[in-house]
Amino acid sequence: MGLVSRGAAEAGLGAASAVDRPGPPDAVPNPIPTPPAEGADLGSSRGPGMVLKAFFPTCCASADSGLLVGRWVPEQSSAVVLAVVHFPFIPIQVKELLAQVQQASQMGVTVLGTWCHRRQEPEESLGHFLEGLGAIFSHKPWFQLCRERGSKSWSCKATRWQGPASPAASGEDQVMLIFYDQRKVLLSQLHPPTALPNCQAGDTTASAGGLAAVFDTVARSEALFQSDRFDEGPVRLSHWQSEGVEASILVELAKWAAGPVCLLLACLLSLISAASACRVFKLWPLSFIWSKLSTCEQLRHRLEQLTLIFSTRKAKNPAQLMRKDLIGQLADALIPVADHVAEELQHLLQWLMGAPAGLKMNRALDQVLGRFFLYHIHLWISYIHLMSPFIERILWHVGLSACLGLTVALSILSDIIALLTFHIYCFYVYGARLYCLKIHGLSSLWRLFRGKKWNVLRQRVDSCSYDLDELFIGTLLFTVLVFLLPTTALYYLVFTLLRLLVVTVQGLIHLLVDLINSLPLYSLGLRLCRPYRLAAGVKFRVLEHETGRPLRLLMQVSIACILPCSLKGLREPA
């Protein structure tokens, strides 16, 4: 079963396909290249037994012949090619340029070898010329990459030493070509963070191992990528920016404007933060109200977000809420809803004042409690009717703040519900207080019945001898409370259930707000617009392989998963 060929191939590079390799099927191929006999002659050390790797940028695959410029990492036995210097050039100028780049980037950039992009069979003169270059720019090992124009066959030789040695000398090693996209590698910022200021000038490969060294090399050689082919410099380079350094006039303008705008916004936000942090708001009644109103929590959250990032994305744009007719409709609908709720409550109280569910209530207490709550509702309704002319304007101003996001609008809704059902909350508090008092009284008198007492000092129940009159009054009160218990308990139960209903609705709204807050919208946006910011590691693909040719791999930057689901295949390499 062969690998299914994937979609768009890179320019000049093909998809992998199965190729039969000659040889007996059970033979174990010898992967360890024999080390050259002259180990002491080697100018550069290499990792023990490692195969030679050459990292080649994909943008240079179609460039004209020239010199390969880059960095040799001996510990990894890999050569990272950064650019190609085209003919004609003067060797002195090339060396000067490299010295400049070396100084700017604190990294050893040298000429690594030659690159030959030709039409047909090599001309003898070109071949000798290329070999002669090896004498001018001495580097061990010296790479000779070659590609035929219009075909996918590459060849790569790496020689250990120069000189009039025969080509079949044991100085040639097997090379593995790995293609990488310079722009993506630079933008993904997979390289380790910038070195500490107290490190010496020179290679700092001690801490950067493996592929991190490659990324580090590419990231630090910005100075080499500054010149494009429109420059009139002495040396003509080919790299990812050689068609023109990436820039945009809009970006430049935005950069100019960004400074003052950011400053202004920062001042404004700091003023607001300072105002909200002043001591007045921390006093008890106000701080209690702030903590109860979910709008304040959400506004605070929003303020924090804005101070961190100036361009917070809106979860949803509720621009419709600011239209007058919708606000009017909402305001018109609000009053009848409040009336309806109050009416339902009145029905409920009438039912309680009768014989609810067949239970027989204590008539006097029933009437008292019922009338008390009914009066409350009456007050509430008058209040709402008093406020009705202003509701629309209040709602409109409140709706303005919904431009801060759907979550703020939901929080405001939650607060409106809380305010509208304030009377239910009051009833619950009254009922709960009465019930609580009754239960405390009952428990205390029950202890009296049994001849015990609660010892406050010792926080336990002690026995106590009561006088006769104490016992008498205690028993009377106990009886009264016990017979009034069902009434109070029923009122308590009903109002607790109502309160639970309101709390459930508010809780659902808060859940929704939390859900929206935790949506990875920022990551989704990044994924769409700038996927390289979510880069997490690399992946390799084997390209078309022919026997006798070097192995070619394509290195791509892989994007991390934005949702924290258990995709076992994706993890960040250290």
Binding site: P48, Q174, M176, G210, V538, S558, L567
Partner: protein, 198 residues
């Protein structure tokens, strides 16, 4: 060089291992699972629709049938995209690293690449699964803090549950194996030991 062998996983399903050698320093192992069969697909679809039809006769609401169709379609798409793995590939590149790719039936691929510098060792580990002992191949990663310690164990070919295979004889850790018949782990770990010098 390519060769193909077939094995069976711990649940009895058929697996095919294909080994491909691109160069002396690059090896690839591809483990493939049988495709989704028409019989199982038909069975699941019929079950779902029978249940939906049963509900429909109870409730007389035609929305149930539409909902059943949607559920079947979405469930199938989700299964193909998130659950059903077509093949898993292990690519070993000398002195670069080890890459594991899982390809799902819908074409999605998820890749993990482990650099050679992070790999401590490749071992065959034992696990008790239900009533038998299975062996699976896993990579031990180095601990950045302690040079000889192990920070993480990464099982290979995990999504199949297939790397576990039953065998007759015992096995020792690492590269020295006495295996009764050429097994999955032998093929892979021998190649790994040749390719990765650690």
């Amino acid at each position: 060089m390519e060769d193909e062998q077939s094995f069976s996983d711990i649940c009895g399903g058929r697996l095919a291992l294909q080994r491909r050698c691109y160069s002396p320093s690059c090896l690839e192992f591809c483990l493939s699972c049988p495709r989704i069969t028409l019989r199982s697909l038909t069975a699941v679809t019929c079950t779902v629709w029978l249940v939906a039809y049963g509900l429909f006769t109870l409730c007389e609401n035609s929305m149930i049938l539409s909902a059943a169709i949607f559920i079947t379609l979405l469930g199938l798409l989700g299964y193909l995209h998130f659950v059903k793995i077509d093949h898993e590939t292990l690519l070993i590149i000398d002195s670069l690293g080890i890459q594991m790719t899982s390809s799902y039936a819908s074409g999605k691929e998820s890749t993990t690449f482990i650099e050679m510098g992070e790999v401590n060792d490749v071992v065959i580990n034992e696990a008790i699964y239900m009533q038998k002992v299975i062996y699976y191949l896993c990579i031990l990663l180095k601990d950045p803090v302690e040079p000889h310690g192990i920070s993480q164990v990464v099982p290979l070919f995990q999504d199949f549950g297939a790397s576990g295979f039953t065998r007759q004889q015992g096995t020792r850790r690492g590269r020295i194996l006495t295996v009764f018949h050429p097994g999955l782990a032998l093929a892979v770990s021998n190649s790994l030991s040749r390719c990765c010098r650690f």
